[in-house]
Symmetry: C2
Subunit: 593 residues, 2 copies
């Protein structure tokens, strides 16, 4: 082995999952390295669908704007099917995409542009992706100490072909793709679902009289096969050609022959009959075979975690791959950051498997149903639409709900709050900053900075009993052994988690003096003065279409409640104003005091 | 004189006006240089108010996002005045800012951050500001040829203290500030309005119990004086202390003494009585004296144009300085770009004076009224509010309306279109892209790229007579001598203006085939296919609060009309579908064929 070096976290693979991991890791005081054997970022093509939840997550890091500006919005899905009597395809339906509960609809953009947004952010944070660096050998040490560097990876980089470096790390995240090196090293078994299928995909500037060319389409052309299209930036359109059963991709050719781009476009042209398709400019194309599979363990070793394609592979039919992959590491790294910085027990890492495996399983089920629908000779369009409708909340990523665990309390909060679901991300409703009078979507107050947010919905605090309950809440909070320490500074030996307290009352701004509220909602710093970003009211006039928080979340202004959002915006705990000890207990289970 | 070099356009001064000029210039095929004697951009402080119209303009260059993310929104104005009997200030009113007709409200951010956004954009466009470069000598040649480099400016740069360079340019834009070098070289006379006044301004993190510290405030503290505050990014607050008459800035001190920051904060503290103010962190502060004045000519030489503070100065009371300055060059450079690239006659430059002088005059009038209001011992708060209300459309920049000229037709378009005003920028109403089904604010279809946009509101083209009128319009358009040439490619010897045609019909998308519409609305390119970005419909379901274009602009779907937007989004001409010859005549006046 070569020269040795040490890091807290090593990320193998700088695709979207690995880059998201690096973004998160940069929020914590730890050393992170990220390597990729490719010479640089994905130039173009590859995954291109960004679902609502992914955009919310990018927004939480402050990096969604360039994507919104460059991408194409997906707002409608058109279904086309063949008329058996004419042999021509016909439009069966145009369905508007339901906006769901997000401020973002789906977007389409080449993967390279999305990676660039991450790279720009990482550059600002002082993190450089080490491209052209390949992992060669994995060595695991026995140790019982949490702080030991138990994983060693020998890497070779383009610059040092002769020499090599051994990176010793405490944790390894493998985002190294469908044929992942890490998974092979560890011989991680996989569950195989559907068999292997071969796809053709190409991004061209189409020249066609097909009227829905600038919309997302599902086109089933009877026994000629089926196709999906999606509009893209710079006049591009993404085409997926789906072979039916074991049919060849390319009409009338030997099935052993690998079709050229021209042949693929010619196949697409035949699927569009009576419309014509040709092209001059191609941005990217690929033939690839997909096995639908899922690893048996997302954490095959206590220090090694698999994410993205390294954990699950499937067809591109639902536009999910990049999204679920990024959301894997978005789920993982705020936990890992806390373990590495000494803020939390490594028990929290168990929830990676328990929270993300059901998502991967649902993804594979959705994929199997969509593949089945596309396979149909007749009724495919209808069947595809039914499956998409049924899974719409999963497809947008907004429906993902994590089950009870040490990080999601096993509670029924109905009665306290009717429209917030345990384990699910918060919906975007509006509040007004008490000091500034500015109305904001509450989600923008939950940035991905490594802090938990305790949202105290204290109700109409002009009422003396509600004001009294708020004061008691604050007093009891400060008397707990753990909570005030989590609140005062980033917890852990090397600055991990923080617990931020945010008050959302329901009284007119002029009826309440901010500095008379409990100090935990306006902490003072001798240089930076009072913090004016922690008190909001629900009393305000929002723009049309914006709904206030109490109404939106279903919280009674005469009762109030307390909602804890994890650093990933998912709800971990809900309680009444009196349930402070229960909150203390929630954290005590997994936080090292 | 030193070594000689040649450029089309020289911009002196890289403040907001100069940077805006460089942004615009980068849209045209010409050489531009921009110099500034400062060593680098404004670090912090200085102008900090960005009005709605300025944000729309930044958006039209695609660069507003970082400003929206970093800045503070101004949504309310609080008025405080002294209670004569207690000697304490009291809140008289909180007035929400009216959103006006823009999608943007006012924002507050230090000038350096705004300059950085321009610099990042210019860097991408390959333009570098030459900092540390000072103009030393101006020489003018006699010439009757438009293409001659009649202006020579000798400059010295930090790097070459011994040597110097003489930059020969066709046009010079002087954005070199209130004590501008260029203006002095040319001995341009000024009209003086109000006398000189001295201001104190500081950006601190305040530590205070004043409850409206995170809002914009006008505070008049009787004979103690008055003050304005505005909340800013990073917990900062901007304070302006306004001396009353010839009173000293600093209580109880010798008026000859220049007050320290501590003394200024102490004065502010006394103006806030009974509240207390102190600080530890100061970002920037300055004492400056302002003369209210306006140059007699904005174009003192046929090749030299003055903009921003070099043309007009005034107090900071209305938060206008940076905005009007940027809007000066935003008005100017799309015209200058056309002259330099050979697309237009230099006659269009006459409209710079005719369009911007009235704005500067109104600015000075507003300023005089606000200064007067702040001077009042009693009733100042009420008077300030009255003035702000009266000028609200001017303050936001949305009300600016250019009078008739060769670039603004002298027409009354009532009857054809009821809510679009000649000479004014278009309001943001919504349309749906015909091919993609995506709804957009129509203003986002008018980017600042140097093209004119001809908006053809053809009405409900399912009706045969309206379809016929649209076809006739297209046919007549293509038969004109000039219009089709302006439409086909960027006009001029070096690619200046373009005329883009955009169709906005009022029929359901499924009832109209895009490729069956006149070809001018879907031009074809052998490589890039058809252009799908030029046909929109008003038939769509917009988000709540979004209003459709026909309804918003007051256009009858059974009649239609044609609206021409200049490259700066202001309306230059309006006509019926039959008025094509009139449109041809409009352009013929100032376009060199």
């Amino acid at each position: 082995m070569g020269n040795g070096s040490y890091t807290d976290l090593l990320i193998i693979g700088a695709g979207p999952a690995g880059l998201m991991a690096a973004c998160w890791a940069a929020q914590f005081q730890m050393q992170t390295r990220i390597i990729d054997q490719k010479p640089g970022r994905t130039p173009t093509g590859h995954a291109d669908g960004l679902q609502s939840r992914s955009l919310e997550i990018l927004d939480s890091f402050g990096i969604v704007d360039p994507i919104l500006r460059k991408s194409v919005r997906h707002t409608e899905m058109a279904y086309w099917a063949m008329n058996e009597s004419t042999g021509h395809i016909e439009r069966r339906k145009r369905t508007p995409s339901l906006p769901g509960s997000s401020v973002y609809d789906q977007r389409l953009l080449n993967q390279g542009a999305t990676e660039q947004v991450f790279l720009d952010y990482l550059h600002e944070m002082g993190v450089q992706v080490e491209y052209g660096t390949r992992a060669r050998e994995l060595t695991l040490s026995e140790s019982n100490s949490e702080t030991d560097h138990k994983v060693a990876v020998e890497v070779v980089s383009g610059k040092a072909q002769d020499g090599s470096e051994t990176i010793h790390c405490r944790y390894l995240i493998a985002c190294d793709g469908a044929r992942g090196w890490t998974r092979n090293q560890l011989h991680v078994p996989v569950d195989k679902k559907l068999g292997e299928s071969t796809w053709a995909v190409f991004d061209i500037v189409p020249i066609t009289d097909f009227p829905d060319i600038r919309q997302s389409c599902a086109i089933s052309s009877g026994d000629r096969g089926s196709m999906m299209t999606a509009p893209r930036e710079n006049r591009l359109v993404r085409f997926y050609i789906h072979p039916k059963g074991d049919k060849e991709l390319c009409n009338g050719q030997d099935t052993k022959h690998e079709p050229s781009l021209d042949e693929l476009v010619s196949t697409a042209d035949s699927l569009l009959k009576p419309y014509k398709l040709r092209y001059q400019h191609c941005d990217w194309y690929s033939l690839y075979s997909i096995k639908q599979q899922l690893v048996k363990q997302l954490r095959p070793h206590d220090r090694i975690l698999l994410a993205g394609d390294a954990a699950h592979t499937h067809s591109p039919k639902a536009g999910q791959g990049m999204n679920v992959s990024m959301q894997d590491t978005y789920n993982l790294v705020w936990k890992l950051g806390a373990v590495i910085t000494g803020a939390a027990s490594s028990r929290v890492l168990e929830t990676y498997e328990s929270e993300r495996r059901p998502v991967a399983e649902e993804l594979l089920e959705l994929d199997a149903q969509l593949v089945g629908a596309y396979e149909k000779d007749t009724g495919a369009a209808k069947r595809i639409e039914t499956v998409r409708d049924q899974y719409s909340e999963f497809i947008s990523g907004l429906g993902v709900t994590y089950g009870p665990s040490i990080l999601v309390a096993d509670q029924n909060a109905q009665g306290l709050v009717n429209n917030i679901k345990m384990g699910r991300r918060l919906d975007p409703f509006y509040v007004v900053n008490h000091a500034e009078g500015v109305s904001i979507n509450l989600m923008t107050r939950l940035p991905s900075d490594g802090s938990w947010k305790l949202l105290v919905f204290a109700g109409d605090i002009r009422q003396p009993d509600l004001r009294g309950r708020l004061n008691s809440f604050a007093k009891t909070f400060c008397q707990q052994p753990l909570l005030p320490r989590l609140y005062e500074k980033r917890h852990g030996t090397r600055a991990g988690w923080l617990l931020e307290t945010v008050l959302i009352h329901a009284s007119p701004r002029t009826s309440v003096e901010l500095l008379e509220l409990p100090e935990m909602f306006h902490p003072f710093d001798e240089t930076w003065g009072w913090d004016y970003t922690r008190v909001f009211t629900d009393e305000g006039s929002y723009s049309p279409g914006c709904r206030g928080a109490y109404d939106g979340y279903g919280i009674d202004k005469n009762t109030g409640c307390v909602v804890l959002c994890r650093p990933d915006q998912h709800v971990g705990w809900i309680g009444a104003m009196e349930d402070v000890t229960d909150l203390e207990n929630y954290f005590s289970v997994f936080i090292d005091k």
